[in-house]
């Protein structure tokens, strides 16, 4: 079965906001357990691409497939696909009126129809996974950015998604908090979670990614395994881009 090889397939995605063509034909495929990291300058369409995958921003053209089923043009079934495609946002977007525990529970109860006890148990287990079990009773305003982001990862994990989209998950955090979130993400990757990550953390990209996709002007300019991209002279642009970051960070 050819289609079963890839759990996610993105085909020729185009998206324009007015005259601004943000995505100009992006295609790639993701295998189960892969971590793909998207890098590139701001405004090259990386975040828009993630939002096109779960249709929070419907693309103008192109298709997305999950397990061989079309996510684009799926009508009301999009809500089913969104359960299967988790998302973590730059600004966390935790539900401000709910405790950490309830943030993780709410979709289990309202979307998956779990009983309160079942949801609670599952939510606590996910909070434990990200090291936030002790904070279960706290409200978002009482959490640090790093803690809030870990709760939002637990919230995405609780739905048992096939893939999780990370939209600049550490861009709103200072370096110390960034590390605690990246640690959680690295563990997830090692446990075999399929992840698409938009980030400017080049260390994470080089160490955790199976593949780095370098975006420029709304297309994937170069892609490959980190080791190949960094060593093969044919990939000079991405190497320069990463090099700038590493120099700047003093790594």
């Amino acid at each position: 079965m050819h289609t079963d090889e890839y759990i996610l397939k993105v085909e020729d995605i185009h998206k324009a906001f007015g005259a601004n063509e943000v995505l100009r034909g992006v295609s790639f495929e993701v295998k189960k357990g892969e971590t793909l990291v998207f890098i590139g300058s701001s405004g090259t369409g990386k975040s828009t691409l993630l939002r096109c995958i779960n249709q929070l921003t419907p693309p103008d053209r192109g298709r997305v497939w999950l397990h061989g089923e079309e996510v684009t043009n799926s009508g009301k079934r999009i809500n089913y696909f969104r359960q299967r495609i988790g998302m973590v946002f730059q600004n966390f977007f935790l539900f401000d009126h709910l405790t950490a525990l309830k943030n993780v529970e709410v979709a289990l109860i309202r979307v998956k129809g779990m009983s309160k006890e079942e949801a609670r148990e599952k939510a606590l287990a996910e909070l434990r996974q990200v090291g936030m079990e002790d904070w279960a009773g706290h409200y978002p305003a009482e959490l640090s950015g790093g803690q809030a982001q870990r709760v939002s990862i637990a919230r995405a994990l609780a739905m048992d998604p096939d893939v999780i989209l990370f939209d600049e998950p550490t861009s709103a955090l200072d370096p110390e908090l960034t590390r605690e979130v990246l640690e959680v993400m690295r563990t997830l990757a090692q446990q075999g979670m399929t992840m698409l990550v938009v980030t400017h953390e080049m260390g994470f990209a080089c160490n955790v990614a199976n593949r780095i996709l370098f975006m420029e002007h709304g297309v994937i300019a170069e892609q490959g395994a980190p080791g190949v991209l960094l060593n093969d002279p044919q990939y000079s642009r991405v190497k320069n881009f990463i090099g700038q970051f590493l120099e700047y960070n003093g790594d």
């Binding site: 809500n79 600004n91 539900f95 995405a156």
Partner: protein, 224 residues
């Protein structure tokens, strides 16, 4: 001594006006939520086809003096439609319809003040818009709306006295009737005023208690 006995004789009659006044207030607050909240949702999430009629409704009920509305409905619209309604029912309905117009705008502002990210996050978990509104947006916006909504209570309470004009047996009407019977003026109107003030105070106490009870750390009016 004669004055005291007159007051004691008539006081129970005056007190029964509390129930009537309170009925008018509850109707206005109740219809305000029952009609005003769906209107607010319609204004925020509805199509033009929904938004325009709601806009006209709000414009109409906020644009006319209460007295004009009361006369219009009591002497014109309801009899014209063949309804033979008591003055109390007309008063309650008119205050309710008017309350809905005002309160819908409190709710609309509160719904719009919930960050866009809350809806986006809810949808990313597979909630449809209706589910997201019910389980995420409304619980937040109702908390945001509560202080402003509570503020409607003293407005409505004091406005309710205008129902005197169509003969609803509320506090002011009863006070005036007693004055006409006894020729005792100041003490009776002062008693009525005292009751209004106590109702105002008691009601606000209860509403503030609710505000505190549902407050969430770092959220809405409880923030900082």
């Amino acid at each position: 001594m004669e004055l005291i006995s007159i007051l004691l004789d008539w006081f129970p009659y005056l007190l029964r006006g509390i129930g009537v006044t309170f009925g008018l207030v509850l109707s206005s607050l109740g219809l305000g939520v029952i009609i005003g909240l769906p209107m607010a949702l319609g204004q925020v999430y509805g199509s033009r086809l929904v938004r325009v009629p709601i806009g006209i409704y709000v414009w109409f009920f906020r644009g006319l003096p209460i007295l004009v509305l009361l006369f219009l409905f009591y002497f014109g619209i309801f009899p014209g439609l063949g309804f033979d309604l008591s003055a109390f029912v007309v008063g309650a309905v008119v205050l309710g319809l008017r309350g809905a117009a005002y309160q819908s705008q409190i709710f609309r502002g509160a719904i719009q003040s919930v960050g866009e990210g809350q809806m986006v996050a809810a949808q990313s978990l597979g909630m449809d818009r209706l589910c997201a509104v019910r389980s995420i947006i409304l619980p937040q916006s109702m908390r945001i709306a509560l202080p402003g909504w509570s503020n409607e209570y003293p407005n409505i309470l004091t406005d309710s006295a205008v129902c005197y004009a169509i003969g609803v047996a509320e506090l002011l009407t009863r006070a005036s009737q007693i004055v006409a019977q006894t020729y005792v003026t100041m003490p009776i109107y002062l008693a009525a005023a005292g009751i209004f003030i106590l109702m105002n105070y008691g009601g606000m106490k209860v509403l503030h208690m609710i505000e505190r009870k549902i407050a969430i750390p770092g959220f809405g009016s409880g923030a900082m």
